[in-house]
Symmetry: D2
Subunit: 119 residues, 4 copies
């Protein structure tokens, strides 16, 4: 997997370069990027909209659906990284910090096999 030897900074650079080459930073205000992220998340949802939860687990067995879902997920990640670039936020730190807070909120013993009110 490329993910094994790609750092977050390297992936952020791919997005940053694309944006810089087009002088698109002027459009990448956080308000706009937050909308873009929500729009891409909705496009990802579209693939699973009318099927059952169980069917959603096997949708991507089909190579064409798999490619389409991967592309929508990439869009979401691109805008998330663009937001991190714009605000100079450390993604890894933010994710680790959130997982620590979540672990306190949802102790593994108590929540095993049972979802919290809001994960």
């Amino acid at each position: 997997m490329s993910d094994d030897h790609t750092t977050l900074t390297q992936l952020r650079s791919v997005v940053a370069n694309f944006v810089a080459e087009r002088d698109w930073n002027q459009f990448h205000a956080p308000k706009n990027l937050a909308m873009a992220l929500a729009i891409e998340a909705a496009e990802l949802m579209e693939h699973f909209q009318w099927i059952s939860v169980e069917a959603s687990r096997t949708l991507t067995d089909d190579p064409q659906s798999r490619a389409a879902v991967a592309e929508e997920l990439a869009d979401v990640v691109c805008y998330a990284l663009a937001m991190a670039n714009e605000l100079q936020l450390d993604v890894s730190d933010a994710v680790r910090a959130k997982m620590i807070r979540n672990a306190e909120k949802y102790p593994a013993g108590e929540y095993r096999g049972r979802y919290g009110p809001k994960p």
Copy 2:
């Protein structure tokens, strides 16, 4: 920055371990994760909802707002990685492939300083 020396696989493991320790894979069907992602993207939007595009550029100068936005962005990234884990998708590959397609769709020369109909 932690992002300089954290690989995507390492960050994915943080999420995967959290989920595995709680036996939450049963809830992490793609349909549910896509909804979760969209919900977190909406929570990120909330911070920028009533302010101008320009004001959104400086909102995170305030440390408290910065921490809150970082936390919401972390939620988005967590669910994006959870989706990648669930579907065994390579995030780096997907992002690089998408940037190549976008570069063809929006040649830097033509789109410099001008946003495409749909980026």
Copy 3:
């Protein structure tokens, strides 16, 4: 049902008066209202996020869940009407026009019991 004898214009007025009394028109630019609408739609989704499609059909048998879902749906409708007010759009006309276009796109004979690629 109140819906039997409430016109769209009457319901729009309820929202318009609330907004006017607070001088909130200044915040009700379409960009902001579209975000507000998406945020409320996400809050509605939250109630159904981790349950199966089938379970979502009976969630509102519980009076407390029913009240909560009704409140989130009201939020969505309020912002949709606020948008119609702001842009002076006729909601009934727009809905009827859309149903006519949809009927052409999804002829009843052909699509009975089968969902279109995008409804």
Copy 4:
């Protein structure tokens, strides 16, 4: 305006008939409809994604943009009404009840010209 003499029940019937003629009630579980609503809200947002808040106020001066925005808003309203149909919720009652709660939360005197933390 059609809205002047169309009741909510009449508009709900337009949607209910369309759905019944295609036997689509089977797809219209609340979980799916909530996703559909969020997806349509995102499509509405797309029109305002990269423009300023001020520019969003005049976008629909252009007849083509106006028609497109009206169509997206119609989609949102259709799914909101489909949800109300599915759950047998009274939309007018829910909206009026919400406006009363909002009026308590945001007294006109205190909030005139100033948006609440969350409207």
